[in-house]
Subunit: 345 residues, 4 copies
Amino acid sequence: MTNIAIHGAAGYTGQELLRILAGHPEVEVAQVTSGSFEGRAVGGVFPGLAPFYDLRFAGRDAVPPAEVEVVFLALPHGEAMGAVPPLLAAGKRIIDLSADFRLQDPTAYPAWYQRAHTAPEFLPTFAYGLTEWCMEEVREARAVANPGCYPTGALLAILPALAAGLIDPTTLIVDAKSGVSGAGVKASETTHFVHANESLKAYRVAHHQHTPEIEQMATKVAGQTMTLSFTPHLVPMNRGIATTAYAALHPGVTEETVRNAYAARYAQAPFVRLLPPGRFPDTAQVRGSNQCHLQVVVDERTRRLIMLSAIDNLVKGASGQAVHNLNVMLGWPETTGLGAPPVVP
Amino acid sequence: MTNIAIHGAAGYTGQELLRILAGHPEVEVAQVTSGSFEGRAVGGVFPGLAPFYDLRFAGRDAVPPAEVEVVFLALPHGEAMGAVPPLLAAGKRIIDLSADFRLQDPTAYPAWYQRAHTAPEFLPTFAYGLTEWCMEEVREARAVANPGCYPTGALLAILPALAAGLIDPTTLIVDAKSGVSGAGVKASETTHFVHANESLKAYRVAHHQHTPEIEQMATKVAGQTMTLSFTPHLVPMNRGIATTAYAALHPGVTEETVRNAYAARYAQAPFVRLLPPGRFPDTAQVRGSNQCHLQVVVDERTRRLIMLSAIDNLVKGASGQAVHNLNVMLGWPETTGLGAPPVVP
Amino acid sequence: MTNIAIHGAAGYTGQELLRILAGHPEVEVAQVTSGSFEGRAVGGVFPGLAPFYDLRFAGRDAVPPAEVEVVFLALPHGEAMGAVPPLLAAGKRIIDLSADFRLQDPTAYPAWYQRAHTAPEFLPTFAYGLTEWCMEEVREARAVANPGCYPTGALLAILPALAAGLIDPTTLIVDAKSGVSGAGVKASETTHFVHANESLKAYRVAHHQHTPEIEQMATKVAGQTMTLSFTPHLVPMNRGIATTAYAALHPGVTEETVRNAYAARYAQAPFVRLLPPGRFPDTAQVRGSNQCHLQVVVDERTRRLIMLSAIDNLVKGASGQAVHNLNVMLGWPETTGLGAPPVVP
Amino acid sequence: MTNIAIHGAAGYTGQELLRILAGHPEVEVAQVTSGSFEGRAVGGVFPGLAPFYDLRFAGRDAVPPAEVEVVFLALPHGEAMGAVPPLLAAGKRIIDLSADFRLQDPTAYPAWYQRAHTAPEFLPTFAYGLTEWCMEEVREARAVANPGCYPTGALLAILPALAAGLIDPTTLIVDAKSGVSGAGVKASETTHFVHANESLKAYRVAHHQHTPEIEQMATKVAGQTMTLSFTPHLVPMNRGIATTAYAALHPGVTEETVRNAYAARYAQAPFVRLLPPGRFPDTAQVRGSNQCHLQVVVDERTRRLIMLSAIDNLVKGASGQAVHNLNVMLGWPETTGLGAPPVVP
């Protein structure tokens, strides 16, 4: 068994790591930390986890015990920057679910996250953890920057078209819709039930901090600098992100070309599935699982390619992908601990 | 008092007409028809309407009594075609909430609605009822084709930019999200609670029948043939459509130019409101009302204009707009019977 | 026009008063106060109300201007105690939507609300405002204690049976289910969308502060001291309370006796309606309206009476009832400003 | 591996069996049948199950192959009656998720299900499968009648109090609230999203068919004939049943006595958990799992015991309990294949 720690285990992604790792045959959760729940039993805070963990939350500044090999950081954005240097110095492997080490350009942090990076010298240490596209980097990495939820849904949908040179990269528009768990566990007007229910709205239009993350990876795959439109929307549901992306097709590209490119790219990916023609990705069909459903439509009237995906933002968009990265780092089969079907309905 | 009839009053738009007209000071509902509820009292079928109507449903083929001046057709798509000719012959005015007389080109019906038009000679009789943009035509009309819900939300958002020549019409993309009442009252797998709840998905991608309706009106306003992308999505809420539209800005156009164009265009429109900068249209804020909230964002990084709107699909997107058209046709103040604030939360 | 003020207008009940009073022909809202929104325009805070109010929030300690005759107190529980004495001294009439003057026994406040009453000498000044049952008291009152949402739903359902002596008062059990707006506008773990959605749970079992309020009025009508069970539940919806109450029938009482008693008691009540046999009250059918739907079922197997009601907690359970009380106090027709049908669906 | 078949695998309980059994290490699903999906691949109908099953639906009348040892019947109520005799004759074991063999008294079927029983001679063959209370019978049984969802939630909450003689059985009232999946996969007005959303209502008051099932088991445990009130309510959520039950406490019974009785009764039950004082069962905390959360409250004011439970109606209330029964029948550890934590949030 490999001992792991989860720092910041009381938020949604930490809680979801606990749920997933309860069924992981190679992993023992040796430490969980929380600023809010220090000293309380995991099963007291999360009654559904009571049968699975006999563990109490350590405080936010607790140091992982010696036997811990891997630390998952599920801290708020901005806090992982400080946590990483001592953990690396202590020889721990890290999977960071925050945004703090996703962008390789340190100047992007003040621009998009309103804070300077305090540990820019460690940015090159981190592999970007979009597992299906960064498998080799993750396998070799001591530290992984786990992708954002929106970037995961967007990139899995658009990268095959960019990689195969099927679309004009300058025309790319990503319109995404997320369940409310994406807004985090903190209570606010935005996350108030009565405010979010029966409501559909865009937010941070043209300024969402996931934009440069999508652009960074798209740039790498497209081989040219990408600047794209990304608009997030808040949807009255707990989990799920549905992404609809649009781009102009290059002349001569047919639906068959596109489908073949997507099918080939993900032929070995156990969690990504191109749906049969005529079916569209639905967040309800992937709920609770690490699956990503895709569809591509060639619109001959406009000569645009429409790329659609659905993921569970807390699993494939966060904690499930983090465990997938753990499996790759430690050389275990990709689906270890991630084999549960979605909870439908 | 003006006597009106509602044919097909048991669907959502018919029911919503009954709700709105209960408070309309100039109108008496003299007849309601329904294939399903013939002979039953309105208040027996819809308990909340019991205090307001002492009326029974006539059968689906009932002829409006002589005193009826205006007939609202809230029939399923395809049935209004047959109902219109005798009503016009009897001298009735018509406000048709179906799609049957919205498209002026008869060949569009088989292409997008999978049925030939059976009364194409009456297409020119109908004014398109996007009230804020077709005020003069509606005022003069004997018959109005009330716009679709998606076209209403899309057109109110994009037309000012097209009219003012601010954007490149060939780049227009409309991504829309609708509550489930847009799918109609008929029970089906799609509208099953357990299927729609906690679900977000696109449908009829690149093939939705509201596409040519948006294009027809956009073409008229832009002064050039428009072909655009339109993608509808189903959202787990009862009412509301949020629309996010994207287009390339012409060089030199600034946010100030855009805001001024929108503010000016709707300065006299009692139901359309450009929100202050930084606030985004939210379906929850217009629920139950005829209001349309708008926002426009200039994204300097991509030089795109992002146009957003929120409406209640059953009010501004259907029955409220129909009553607005009635008011215009009959020379009453625009807001007559439509003055109720939204029901928030 | 009668000038009124709303103190604490930024919570759900204050906001709902603004919505309702926008359509009230006898009332002018002359002042609104808020601790959070001082200085901001009503339409800036609540975009849907922008067309209806040209008014800014005064601060929480603002004194009503001289022309104001009636003050609605929509303050948090505990704050109305302090606000009432100076308002009464200034000659204002008061309709208090908080719990501060509902219980006539001052010792009940520390027991159920964990705070001593600071103005017990004014308790007798207040009429309890369950309009259908306290019409005369309200008509004569300078101050009205507007009932709680749960007590309104419960009492309208059970009082006719108690008044007519049909049931054994010692056996009464009230099981109630409320939408989340009943928990108030304050963001908390309880009201977080992700926490409340897909969740059904009881809370404050055997200890909810609305229990003595139900008992006080039931005692008065039954003519004997009542001690009953009341259990509230939180339901993932915005508005609505459904109440199911159970009691042992006295021997010989038949369904016909019961139905006649209920029908007779509410024959003149414009907002209360006993549904036809076989239909059950549904919160969805009263949403946004001041209506209360009732049903009664005699279960011969158990010889129990089951009494059911549905109301909109923000309208009939709060602000609509407050306006109803205003109408009664000022001698206007009961339905003035309250005539809008429910917003269904 | 033990081969099993699922007859009627396209409804919610069949689909849920497929989800659970995908992770069951001792079971191979050898046959699934469906009237609607004959010939289609499981993964084509349920995209989330595609990675787990390489199987096509057989037709509704398909006979299980010889290697199948156990047949799960997830057929509509009324159809299992006909299916059972030939399966028993063929030597199969049966776990029937319908109501057809739950009531031992054949005359109860016409009274509560509006149909005569066509195979009453097989009623004694079936053990009632409330696993925690019928362990021995299930272990010995060839056929199990899997309990209804409401009876499971109600009985787990009330039986310890009845068994220990803590309450007056004649005063028992069960008020239950269910998510919409309890209404089944068939599309209808009741299950229409727009109808069920933002709605809370009781249904079949005093006449629900689960009443005699609760009474039958309660009678057995209480040792006296029970007649109780049971009221079901429909809640706008997919999964979950919350039950609140009320009964008069016998004199002298304390909260400590009650808590000890419940804790002792379920000390060895891996799926049932009495929550700490002050926490109430919440359907959200058991979603997707076979867990049942309980709470008991002694109300000294009324001297009533309030018993509360929460289950996932499709798991503990149906398919999870069916797999639990399978495990017991076949002598495997109780939690085999049922060890996944709830999906929270």
